[in-house]
Every structure is written in structure tokens, then in C-alpha cells.
Homo-oligomer: 204 residues x 2
């Protein structure tokens, strides 16, 4: 692996383990056993490292958030949500210190809001599709409140898990997916609600 | 107002406005137009100020989280949730930088987890009561998932609102209450669901 990539890889791991505010460029250099000068040759500052990681995060999110044209079945939806949670877990430092990081690095704020908006559109599109096909019985107001609930849950589930348990629990991702499905469930046909319970038993 | 109380009052306001990580004791003294020495006479450090504010927060939370013995109607529940959100808003610095603050001040972690547990018990007690009286139609699994959703929403709604809009929106508290009610609504009788929509129209 190139030094530049090793720096990014190790920075991401340290940010996730210790939280962004506790990680300095000196600590990153130390962990990699390279000189600070070598690190500064590749990245001028911690902000430069964050900028690169944030770009990686954006690219992953946008590639996932393309909603498939065809209707998603319960199992597809479970899998799709799992991908979103996996990507959030990969960049969990960002989510765990979200308000702090947005205040400290205002250059990320609008870009993060754009991701939230893309999530909102994806959620409404999936729910409206299911309503059109009479799989989901919800009013427009209900679809809106559901969407807020889905975005809130995907955004803060890992923070909640880490505050509640003192660390992100092993089954936090699967629990997060189940939590999202549980707010959608009451609007589904009984047969589809049963499928969610089946998936819960299989994965949790 | 005594100097000690003025320090607490101003610290809380600055923490809420700027986020705890950005506020120093020097800034607090400056804002109050007192000397740092005068501040240190009352509080040895920022941690001492936080300790006192955290105690106030705990006392408020525990006094609210006593669930009334009698069954709560939709309007009572709306009002009760509003009290909880108001108290969270009063100490919003804690919630907005929750993961950061818990990592920085581990002495608060267990105490915050105890509040989450008390919230959990209060939520389950309210929901089980409504089920016993046949107002709520949910399985034990559903009551559990609902409870997680209610705690997640009360804990992170203001952070979500502040990240989404760049600041906590004016109607954030009422929206938070509505969001919590919207996850409970599908398990209620149609008549009670209609009451929630009525309250939404009145308050939002």
C-alpha cells in the first residue's frame, strides 16, 4: 500500500476508534511509524486528511443511494438498509461527533445536508412506490413522518448504540436495520409484516 | 442574582449557543465581565461548572420521568412529551455533542445511561398501560421496538434538526413531539390517531 493510502486508512481507523477530536497528525504519524515530515509531505493538515475521507464517504453514499427502478421486496429493503448502515459504520467517526464536526469544519455542512436530502428523496421514492403497488397503506403525511423517522434512525442509531452501551454493540447494524423496518411495518400488509419478524429472528 | 448562579446561567447559555467544546472558563468570565480569579473562586474548572449543570439536568429529568399512575390520554401524552423535549432543549449542549461529551467526561456516562433506562421504563409503562386498556394494539416485540424508537427520537431530534437546518429550528420541539407520536399512531384506534392529526394541525 502507498504511504498516502496508509495514512488515510490509519487515520480513518483512529478517528473511528478514538473520535475525531482526540486524533492529531502527530498521533497518526506515530501509529504509522513514519516521521511527521513524511506525513506533511502527503497531507498539509488534519483537515486535508478529513477532506479526502469525506470525499470517499460522499462517493460511497451517493453510489448506494441510487434507488433501483424496480419495486424492492422486504428482503431487498433489508439488504439495502444494511448497505447504508455499513457505510455509516465505516465512517462512524463522522456520525458519532456529527454536531461537533459540522461546527468545526463548516465546509462539510452543506455537503452533509445534501446527503440527507438525497436520503429523503430515496426514502420517499421507495415508500411511494410501495404505496402505488398497494403494499403500503399510508397517507402522504404518514409517508413524510416515516421518512423523517428513517433518516433520523439511520443517522443517529450508531451514536445511540454507543451512548447506551458505552460502545457500538456487535449487532448494532442489524438492530438499526430492524429498527427502521419496525417503523415501516405497521403500514404493511400482514404477510409482509410477518416477513420482517422472520428476518428479525434470522438476523438478531 | 448571586455571582455563582450568574456563572451557571451564563455558562449554560454559552454551551448551548456555541457547543461545549468551544467554551472556555476565560470566555465565561469575559462574558460576565468578571475576573477569571472571581470565577475560579466559585468554580475550580469548567468540569466543576459542568458537574453542577449536569446535576440540574438530572434533577429536572427525574422529576419529569415519574409516570402518572392514571392512564394518559393523547393530549396528556403530547404535553408530557413536550415537557421532556423542553428539558432536553434547556440542556441541548449535552445532547448535541453527546458522544464527544461522554468520551471527554466519563463521569457522566453511567449517569446518562441511567436516565436512558428511566426513560425506557417510563415508555414501556405508558405503552403497556394503554395496551391493557385496549387503546393500543401492539405485541411485546412491537412495544419494545417502539420504546427504542421513542428514546432515540427524544435523544437525537434536536441534533438532527440542527444538522439538517444548520440550527435548531423554531418549531423543533413541537416537531419532535409529533415525530414521537407518529411512531405510536399506527398502533392506536382510528379515533385516537385522528386526535394526533388534530394536535399536529394545531401546533405545527
Amino acid at each position: 500500500m502507498k504511504t498516502r493510502d496508509r495514512i488515510l486508512h490509519t487515520s480513518l481507523r483512529l478517528f473511528n476508534e478514538m473520535g475525531e477530536p482526540s486524533v492529531t497528525t502527530l498521533l497518526i504519524a506515530d501509529e504509522l511509524d513514519i516521521s511527521p515530515g513524511n506525513l506533511y509531505y502527503h497531507f498539509k493538515s488534519k483537515t486535508d486528511i478529513l477532506e479526502e475521507l469525506f470525499q470517499q464517504f460522499e462517493e460511497c453514499m451517493y453510489s448506494i443511494l441510487i434507488v433501483p427502478e424496480s419495486e424492492m421486496d422486504i428482503e431487498d429493503l433489508w439488504f439495502y438498509l444494511h448497505l447504508i448502515f455499513e457505510n455509516i459504520a465505516k465512517f462512524q467517526f463522522l456520525y458519532k461527533d456529527l454536531v461537533t464536526i459540522m461546527a468545526k469544519y463548516p465546509q462539510f455542512e452543506k455537503r452533509f445536508q445534501k446527503i440527507l436530502n438525497t436520503k429523503r428523496k430515496a426514502s420517499i421514492s421507495v415508500l411511494e412506490n410501495a404505496r402505488k403497488n398497494e403494499r403500503l397503506h399510508a397517507s402522504t403525511d404518514e409517508i413524510e413522518a416515516l421518512t423523517e423517522q428513517i433518516i433520523l434512525t439511520t443517522t443517529f442509531w450508531l451514536s445511540y448504540s454507543s451512548v447506551r452501551e458505552g460502545q457500538v454493540a456487535d449487532d448494532a447494524l442489524a438492530r438499526g436495520v430492524y429498527q427502521v423496518m419496525s417503523v415501516v411495518a405497521p403500514f404493511l400488509e400482514p404477510e409482509r409484516r410477518a416477513m420482517i419478524n422472520g428476518l428479525k429472528d434470522a438476523y438478531l
